[in-house]
Symmetry: D2
Subunit: 134 residues, 4 copies
Amino acid sequence: MFITETTLRVRYVETDQMGYAHHSNYIVYYEYGRVEAMRNLGMSYREMEESGVMMPVIDSASKYIKPAFYDDEITIKITVPELPTVRMRFEYRLFVNNQLIHEGHTTLVFVNKSTGRPMRAPQQMLDLLQPYYA
Amino acid sequence: MFITETTLRVRYVETDQMGYAHHSNYIVYYEYGRVEAMRNLGMSYREMEESGVMMPVIDSASKYIKPAFYDDEITIKITVPELPTVRMRFEYRLFVNNQLIHEGHTTLVFVNKSTGRPMRAPQQMLDLLQPYYA
Amino acid sequence: MFITETTLRVRYVETDQMGYAHHSNYIVYYEYGRVEAMRNLGMSYREMEESGVMMPVIDSASKYIKPAFYDDEITIKITVPELPTVRMRFEYRLFVNNQLIHEGHTTLVFVNKSTGRPMRAPQQMLDLLQPYYA
Amino acid sequence: MFITETTLRVRYVETDQMGYAHHSNYIVYYEYGRVEAMRNLGMSYREMEESGVMMPVIDSASKYIKPAFYDDEITIKITVPELPTVRMRFEYRLFVNNQLIHEGHTTLVFVNKSTGRPMRAPQQMLDLLQPYYA
């Protein structure tokens, strides 16, 4: 499986009056993680979108285990559990100081930007991912 | 069951370069809907938090059916499927022009702000909800 | 002069760990106010953009007088001090319970979406505004 | 003068339907830049706030010269033009590919968290900054 990780820091703007990173930020952290995961894989999401393929999210789920706080460094571990078809699933586990604080997953679909219709994952992506599922 | 609804408009800042309301906004729309649902019930979330009870989110799930666009008026239908205990579940269905565009749910937990420990739903809330579950 | 007002409530997600509406939200409140101001004038920003005219912001300034808090109802008073040319200036004064908490202004420029070049304000907007500057 | 720099990337969530980084993000980029500037100086904003000193923003101004786009790497150059007193001014210049795209500044005030009253800059910060203004 393709597994990778990246880190980010909780921004002040992301805190709320409970003193937590507001729960709405995690889905933004997932997106940040996905983009960096694809960069680590050798494929830029920006270039993919410029080449006419976009990836809207069609479902997501989240489990908030412990709060994160301002300036915490969060490590996001991202797993792509299987080769994408028309859809691509990403799983996320977030850690602060090696403690699991959050789990989630999202499903995205490949869409042809000019027709607006679903399509199979670009061949370039499949070629890059293939070795991880041999 | 307690069922209520409220409306909001998609803000420009919430759009993304696909031209959609970015998927991260839905969980903010849920929060907006919950707060207005509680106001409709006769209970202000602000007052509840000022009285020492906070309600962090512990899980959420979302299904993105159709995109919403800038300036769309979204109707959020909120259902509380059962009387809260230590936890409270909210279910959301979002409509634009009577078309279902999104479904989701969240679970929140009641927490005593001074001890940081979970607690049962405030009696005032139970009293207000009780008639809907008779 | 064209002067109008609208209201909004501070959302939980907009608070920060100081317990304030985070200062980055005011520029979003301005945008919300502008859109509603234009709607009050009889011109939808959405339709204007769909007709090929967009209005990026080119400068802004803000003075944060008092904090706003979660669930506060903010009244935004918007003034358009002069008829727009290629540029349009909006001035904002924000009130909570009739107390001035914030002042700001922004300048926007009319841009032809297909050419990317600045252009004069659409005639429809000038016609709607003209009576306020007679 | 104390001058430092840091970088960040425009996130997808920060884009809008014009395809630009929405103008409301710049004030968040300033905050990100300030926090990293203080870290580079040897002082964590988090620790300062934990020690009882907070720094609300009291004014800001921005000039949007060119748009930034999704995934652009922005370099933020931060200048502290003079030793802070009760107030501290930060100036920002943002670059993409060495091209100036944005300028701004903010003034923050030191506030004693327990009394809510303005106070002079903490001695530790003055000691760290002093050498840059000799």
